[in-house]
């Protein structure tokens, strides 16, 4: 307990130091470059503050978050199911895994033209691309974990008379949870990258990616840097605060 607390403090300290270093290098670049190419850090923070007080920012944020939520949520749901089923079926497992590895190597953004034409201009192509980005790492991590569930845990459940459904819910699912969470964090990184880039390309209604692309088009570098700042902060908050919390909640038994 004591140990995990001190490492928690240490990792927080490391985060603060890392942020300070990143902002320092940004500021150094701003000193050397003219203002219209690289704004000072305080100028960008000032713009961020103004944005936070405008309605437009929240519309974009809301749109992006719902696309992320739907796409990432669907990817987790189907990824877990495919991973569990695939992991228990000895016959198809290796083929399925190979297929996932091949598909995973395609950058999710490469699917944009296809889905844009298939589904038309709108939210759907962005959501699908987010889902594709998150689906493969989730499915793969769950499948690998399912494969390596301890034999004795399965035998014990069989001896106790577990049905297939009970086995899945009470044995396989909790057994794969640690790897699932690692996979889900990896999947979040993919989903986030896919979301921002798809929004930049598709440019349908307000969104973080669209706002960034627009600032670039009108050569508003303060806007560009502010948007990048928002994207970085949100990713860090979602991953380090929300996902880490869920991880500690679900894997509580490991931290006791």
């Amino acid at each position: 307990m004591n140990n995990s607390q001190t490492t928690g403090v240490a990792s927080k300290r490391a985060y603060v130091a890392a942020i300070a270093i990143i902002l320092f290098f940004w500021q150094v670049a701003a000193w050397f470059l003219p203002d219209f190419l690289m704004p000072d850090v305080p100028v960008a923070l000032q713009r961020l503050w103004e944005e936070l007080n405008s309605g437009e920012f929240y519309e974009g944020l809301g749109n992006s978050m719902s696309r992320l939520g739907i796409g990432y949520g669907a990817a987790l749901f189907f990824g877990i199911i495919l991973g569990l089923v695939g992991g228990t079926l000895d016959m198809v497992r290796s083929t399925l895994k190979a297929a996932i590895i091949i598909l995973q190597s395609i950058p999710s953004i490469a699917w944009v033209p296809l889905f844009l034409i298939l589904m038309g201009f709108g939210n759907m192509p962005i959501i699908v691309v987010v889902a594709i980005g998150a689906f493969f790492p989730t499915a793969l991590s769950v499948m690998n974990a399912t494969e390596s569930v301890e034999k004795v845990h399965i035998s014990a459940a069989r001896v106790m008379g577990a049905s297939k459904m009970q086995m899945l819910k009470r044995v396989y699912f909790p057994a794969v949870t640690p790897e699932l969470i690692t996979g889900a964090q990896l999947a979040f990184g993919n989903a986030w990258r896919a979301l921002i880039s798809a929004e930049m390309i598709v440019g349908f209604s307000a969104g973080l990616g669209k706002s960034l692309a627009y600032s670039g088009e009108i050569a508003d570098m303060t806007g560009v840097m502010t948007n990048i700042l928002v994207i970085a902060i949100l990713a860090a908050v979602i991953d380090q605060v929300i996902l880490e919390r869920i991880k500690h909640r679900l894997l509580r038994y490991q931290y006791l």
Binding site: E150, V152, H153, S155, V159, M160, G161, Q166, P174, L256
Partner: protein
């Protein structure tokens, strides 16, 4: 429940583990199987549990052929069979929940069984937080809670230190006396076999054949096994341990 092997053969590929094995275990009898590592005695046990099928021959429990696992015939594993993501209480209750008993009654019953194995106060601990001996007490509670007609034990205390092992042997003996299941115990420990069993079967190397059957009868026993000294020496001898290698004078010389 009477257990009957007739002409049971089990092979894994070319490897003959059990060859035309015949025996009958009477209802309520306590039989210990001892033999060298890898001689196939665990395979006999797993077949009784329904986790493995004989390659040929028939195996019946209570007159019915053993085709799959059933809570009537439960198996206690050497270790690590408790689910690490569940508390001790949930681990024990699970045996009833797998039989579709309501959660509330399962938990109440599990509490009762945990206190029968002297684990009250540890209900909310996770397996990794308690000692190996406590984990096996919990495993016994989980086995007995379903009131099995047949209790199969696969080297249940093999990973414990000598003192803890003896304590757990007494716990197990008391539970068997009270619940009176038919018991098949696989063990390396000759003293454990003599202490717990009514009949000891000594196995040879693969393919497993019975070298000697010792009928001890169902008599009350303590850990003082001096009355069984002759049988003990004979069994050890059959297992290839040279029992008259050291005279007391010799061993004194060694320790000096």
């Amino acid at each position: 429940m009477e257990l009957q092997f007739s002409q049971v053969t089990k092979s894994f590929g070319d490897l003959n583990v059990i060859k035309q094995f015949d025996t009958t275990i009477r209802n309520g009898e306590i039989v210990a199987l001892v033999g060298p590592s890898g001689c196939g005695k665990s395979t006999l046990l797993h077949m009784l549990a329904g986790l493995q099928q004989p390659t040929s021959g028939t195996l019946t429990a209570g007159g019915a052929s053993v085709a799959k696992p059933s809570p009537e015939r439960t198996l206690v594993f050497q270790e690590h069979a408790l689910y690490p993501w569940m508390t001790l209480l949930d681990n024990v209750a699970l045996a009833l929940e797998f039989q579709d008993k309501p959660r509330k009654t399962s938990l109440a019953e599990a509490r009762k069984w945990l206190s029968r194995v002297k684990l009250e106060g540890f209900e909310d601990y996770y397996p990794h937080q308690v000692s190996g001996g406590m984990r096996q007490r919990c495993a016994l509670a989980r086995a007995f809670i379903a009131r099995p007609k047949v209790l199969l034990l696969d080297e249940p205390f093999g990973a414990l230190d000598a003192l803890t092992r003896m304590t757990l042997q007494s716990v197990l003996k008391d539970l068997i006396e009270e619940e009176r299941p038919t018991v098949v115990l696989v063990t390396h420990d000759v003293d454990e076999a003599l202490y717990l069993a009514d009949r000891v079967m000594v196995f040879s190397q693969r393919p497993a054949t019975v070298l000697r059957e010792v009928e001890l009868g169902h008599i009350p026993k303590t850990h003082d096994l001096t009355a069984f000294a002759d049988v003990r020496l004979e069994v050890l001898h059959l297992l290839g341990i040279d029992t008259d290698e050291h005279t007391p004078a010799d061993s004194q010389g060694e320790t000096a």
